[in-house]
């Protein structure tokens, strides 16, 4: 169980939600805390989804994002699906689920591409760089021992 991962510079060791070191929490407790995030994802409000999608469109298109087809369509749909009373509305829930999927699609694609460009988009790496990624260093002298003479 003791694996010196945390000493390696670029290996990201993080429990997804909490900043506390992993060892201080029991597993089930950690899991429950992490799950909270996904539970909350199920209850996210329409306004947050709407703003999230618009933010993603902005990340894609930059300043002129308000002129895009998607911007107008999304705003239009969210306005249409507003209801004035608190009555149970199945169509609205369906629309919310669909819009959440769309938000997830946009955000995940963006993050995936970012990671792809960071780690996989540059082709093969130099041995030194690969070693550095797991926190190791190559010996400076090809002959190994005896260089100090």
């Amino acid at each position: 169980m003791e694996f010196p991962l945390s000493e390696c510079g670029s290996v990201v060791l993080k429990s997804k939600l909490c900043q506390e070191p992993i060892e201080t929490l029991g597993f089930q407790e950690k899991w429950r805390r992490d799950k909270l995030r996904f539970k909350m994802a199920a209850l996210i409000s329409p306004l947050r989804v709407c703003r999230g999608i618009l933010k993603e469109i902005r990340a894609l298109k930059g300043r002129e994002y308000k002129q895009t087809l998607a911007y107008n369509y999304v705003l239009d749909q969210f306005r249409k699906n507003q209801v004035s009373s608190e009555r149970y509305c199945r169509a609205q829930e369906e629309a919310l689920h669909t819009s959440q999927s769309y938000l997830c699609l946009l955000a995940s694609t963006r993050l995936h591409l970012a990671l792809h460009n960071l780690y996989h988009g540059k082709g093969e790496r130099a041995p030194e760089e690969v070693a550095g990624m797991v926190g190791l260093r190559l010996p400076t002298q090809p002959g190994g021992k005896g260089w100090e003479k």
């Binding site: 089930q28 369509y73 699609l105």
Partner: protein, 292 residues
């Protein structure tokens, strides 16, 4: 000009066989067969220079929506006119094309890929064959296979997967069950018939999307949970990767492998789920009558 456009799209991207078409060129063939998945991601092979500025949609005479890139109609890799059945899907696809910066990254355009698959149907399958292929995953469903060993994992699988299994058994009135055996649970023929009948009610577009989701999540149960809106995409992906998440909790998260895979799986699952919902919905507007 049309021929140019055709050549550009001769590099097809399909959801089902999106790894084979462009790898059989010249001396690269052997290497790329070996690399398989990695080839699809090698930047040179799957990216093209962006050749258009504006993306717009228009509705054709038959009510189908088309995508235009600088006034040129978008076509499928098979050379057909690219058409989608509703406005929302057309806008989502147009946004994918619009979002490309200097190069076209086909591997990030999941909805376009799915539409191409339906329009060209590169594997020449009919509805029945797709349903059979999708239901094959039920026999080896992720949530039906349980471990006996580390007790934390056993408890986790029980706590997280059992509620979904219970839900689907009640929702469709079927028996699935779970097993620790390598052979998996014995799934009654009646269960498969129920699902087959249910899937038969979807159209070809929705079925293609559903099969895509099932192959991504490796689970019929979770896919149905997602399509029936019992789960969100994030939850379904989490449940599908439960064992990996457990290992991450113990050994730490490696960004370029775990997060990379997770975001890709989320993007693909979300695209599939969205595709099913958008292509099977029929939107009707009912206006309230104004009272005098």
């Amino acid at each position: 000009m049309l021929r140019n456009l055709m050549r550009l799209y001769r590099r097809p991207s399909y959801a089902v066989s999106d790894r084979c078409p462009w790898v059989c060129q010249g001396g690269q063939a052997r290497l790329s067969t070996l690399l398989g998945n990695a080839k699809a991601y090698s930047t040179a092979a799957s990216e093209r220079k962006k050749f258009y500025q504006d993306v717009s949609i228009s509705q054709g005479d038959d009510g189908l929506y088309e995508i235009s890139l600088d006034r040129r109609k978008l076509k499928t890799p098979g050379g057909k006119l690219f058409t989608v059945p509703n406005e929302a899907l057309a806008i989502a696809v147009a946004t994918e094309w619009d979002a490309q910066k200097d190069t076209l990254k086909f591997y990030s355009m999941h909805l376009t890929t799915l539409c191409n698959t339906v329009l060209d149907n590169p594997t020449h399958r009919d509805k029945g064959q797709i349903i059979t292929a999708a239901l094959k995953f039920l026999e080896t469903d992720t949530v039906c296979y349980r471990v006996e060993d580390p007790s934390g994992m056993v408890e986790l699988q029980k706590n997280e997967w059992d509620p979904v299994l219970d839900w689907i058994e009640k929702r469709y009135n079927v028996v699935i069950g779970s097993s620790c055996n390598i052979m998996g649970p014995q799934i009654p023929e009646q269960t498969k018939d129920t699902f087959r009948q249910h899937l038969g009610s979807y159209n070809l577009w929705a079925l293609t999307g559903l099969e895509y989701v099932i192959t991504q999540l490796k689970s019929v149960v979770l896919s149905f949970g997602l399509i029936d809106r019992h789960l969100t995409v994030e939850q379904a992906v989490l449940l599908s990767r439960l064992e990996e998440e457990y290992q991450i909790q113990h050994w730490g998260n490696v960004e370029w492998a775990h997060d990379y895979d997770m975001y890709e799986l989320r993007a693909r699952t979300a695209a599939g789920s969205l595709f099913v919902h958008l292509s099977s919905e029929s939107s009707t507007v009912k206006r309230k009558l104004l009272q005098d």
